[in-house]
Subunit: 437 residues, 2 copies
């Protein structure tokens, strides 16, 4: 077997929309070259018919992976530096807007080296929890390009696939100039942003952050991400400034479509939902962040029914756990409607997956312990993954054919996070008695 | 040091409403005999003034416990057998009422031996997650008394303190006789229930399950638990039957007060809240169950402000994680109000705690890893416990001075759950393809 080849026999795996026993996967150059459910006949007969089942074409060892293996999970919205805020902004009352002030305190003092250390540890936490790719919504440009480079290097060292969305932020509100920490976000104008970024992955921070007359700059961008209607206040200000909702504004500027991902989409009108659905726009929801920031519960099910593809993101990193994020989608709908069963476990798994365990796809595999205190006796199937497991139950993560994390790494990842965050001394920022070595 | 004595030096501990460094606790016969924050002076001076700090009076080894130690957590509402349903009832649409049919399927086939095995494993899962006591709301009496004995034995072997609430259930609805699985719940009448139970801990299943004219039997009972207004349908049926809300009914029958705990209290009128508060009735909320069963979000903050003591319970065991339960209280309020900061971390910790780390209290200690992927860099204080930790971060649990679980036991607990649940063959019950060895 060559350096770039490997093979796994997966005890249980989510393949083609169902959980199957004993799935043999072969990997070459980071992609699956064969995926074969060898199934229970193997057990019954003690030998396997060559006509019926394919076996590794390359000689070498096949690693048996016990537990339930699912495709790699996609984290479609991340602000890596927000990890510094976990547990640190829970003092006193407030709203999203008071939380934002605390977030800016951290944003203002991040230097590239410290950001590299924090992002690497945060990406490792993501990988350990089952995320194999991340869309990083990056607006801390200055000093440029060191901050973006720090994120790319951090992802590379953590082994996670990254889409670095360079984010345009040139206005503090509708017509207001950037101020304070926002100054390091700004390129001056969208045209200047475009000149700097070239044709790479792009984001508009929000309709607050780029004036309407500059939005044409983003037409045809793919991928293009944008925060949308996370707060009612944004909707009201947009209506006051332009006479339309943020969704309608993006639509009228030609910015919705299958290459665009709107993030949150919490407070929408029926017309907004119809526009997003008709244009096949992607919608990234972030249930654990929306819960933490008191954003409210968005119409994810209605958006999917209208034609949108739904993705998830850990966003503020109050929680980094794709399973909690996926079941959050269903649980939030339950709290609103008082009915169960809005999303099947299979639908939720499809929402979370970056690809599938299928020939030609990137060889990303997330293996879940099906006999942990949380998962034991829950069926070892998609319901176990979505309704019982947590990030702590992930035993191994393979990205591009390479083992990037096992459960044995969790302790070291915790220590790395601790070191990176201690170095930032965030505890002093928020005025709380902290223990910074 | 005698068999029944021990001493711990806690790196960080929640004592008297604050997190303190280096707290020395001594334990004799299951209770704390001294609790002394020896604090940072120890580090500064390298030696300690005998005038200022007390040290173990009994010679012997003091065990140093790294991490954050909090008091034992109370699980104030459990139906142990519901653990068999985790991940198994998530197929198709439905409500609380369709879920109840599936739950009855399991209830109908539980024999005492199988229940002992399931409950012991479930209680071990609770202990590992940080619960040190459980109020078991027990209504599977028949064959009596073997089912109750099974629960008591299971708790004893798992090392958790149990309050076995023998539950009266003599009516299927307002005036309807028990049927199907409910037959094993019923004593016929509340008087017959009382004759069997004597003066032990008691529960009324709900105002649906005991006719008004029999409720007087429960006057003066302490503790007395009752499911209250989990569903709108109960309220409507109660109004139709008696012309009053379930809360008003319990009040008029003299059943509210500091010895009573109402469970859920989700759908209340302003008058209900005032009655519960004025009578200093306890309210047990179960956020992860209420989320799972699409019950809705109850007015926990308003109940506390009105005068109620709030507790938490894992109830249906869709999730067994006291930290998720506690932050669920705050997160649910955020989703409803779009504001943050309804409960401080200290208030939530007090809600969760069975007692305190204080002289004379039962010696229950729950230690949390403050450098796990989830908790690292979050302050190692009450915010870490409530807003970052999960049950998987609990490294050690001491109950009554005895180490009952460490993180090394999690694997064995998972296997025990798997064995108990496989034996029940629940997978065949719910019509899903399962893997039962």
């Amino acid at each position: 077997m060559s350096e770039s080849s490997s093979a796994y026999l997966l005890e249980r795996a989510w393949v083609d929309g169902a959980v199957r026993d004993d799935v043999l996967v072969e990997i070459e150059d980071g992609r699956f070259t064969s995926v074969t459910p060898v199934g229970q006949n193997l057990h019954l007969s003690g030998e396997v018919s060559a006509e019926k089942y394919r076996f590794p074409r390359v000689p070498g060892e096949t690693t048996r992976l016990p537990g339930l293996t699912i495709p790699g999970l996609r984290n479609d919205h991340s602000h890596a530096f927000h990890r510094a805020l976990r547990g640190r902004t829970q003092v006193g009352r407030g709203t999203f807007w008071t939380w934002r002030e605390q977030m800016y305190d951290v944003a203002a003092r991040l230097a590239p080296d410290a950001y590299f250390a924090l992002a690497r540890a945060t990406y490792r936490e993501m990988v350990a929890a089952g995320y194999t790719s991340v869309s990083e919504f990056h607006y801390l440009h200055a000093p440029e390009p060191a901050m973006g480079d720090a994120l790319r290097s951090a992802a590379a060292e953590a082994g996670i696939r990254i889409t670095l969305l360079d984010t345009c932020y040139v206005s503090s509100g509708f017509g207001a100039p950037p101020e304070g920490a926002q100054l390091r976000f700004s390129d001056g104008t969208a045209e200047q942003w475009a000149a700097r970024v070239g044709d790479g992955p792009a984001a508009i921070h929000s309709v607050r952050a780029v004036p309407r007359e500059q939005l044409h700059v983003f037409r045809g961008r793919d991928p293009l991400h944008v925060h949308l209607s996370e707060q009612q206040q944004e909707n009201e200000a947009c209506l006051a400034a332009y006479g339309v909702t943020p969704t309608r504004l993006l639509h009228d500027e030609g910015l919705l479509g299958p290459g665009t991902t709107v993030v949150h989409a919490t407070h929408l009108t029926d017309d907004d939902i119809a526009l997003l659905g008709a244009t096949r726009t992607n919608v990234c929801v972030t249930p654990t962040t929306e819960r933490d920031l008191a954003d409210g519960i968005g119409p994810a099910r209605r958006l999917a029914d209208a034609g949108c593809r739904i993705t998830i993101g850990s966003d503020s990193h109050a929680v980094i756990d794709p399973f909690e994020e996926l079941r959050g989608l269903e649980m939030d709908e339950r709290l609103v409607t008082r009915e169960r069963g809005h999303w099947s476990a299979a639908e939720l798994l499809a929402i979370g997956a970056a690809g599938g365990i299928a020939v030609g796809e990137p060889a990303d595999l997330v293996t879940i312990d099906t006999a942990s205190p949380r998962t034991a006796g829950t069926g070892a199937d998609e319901h176990t993954a979505v309704f019982a497991a947590t990030g702590a139950d992930v035993t191994q993560v393979v990205i591009g054919g390479r083992v990037v994390a096992t459960r044995d790494d969790h302790e070291a990842i915790g220590r790395e996070l601790d070191a990176a965050l201690s170095a930032l001394m965030v505890s002093t920022l928020t005025g709380r008695a902290g223990r910074v070595p």
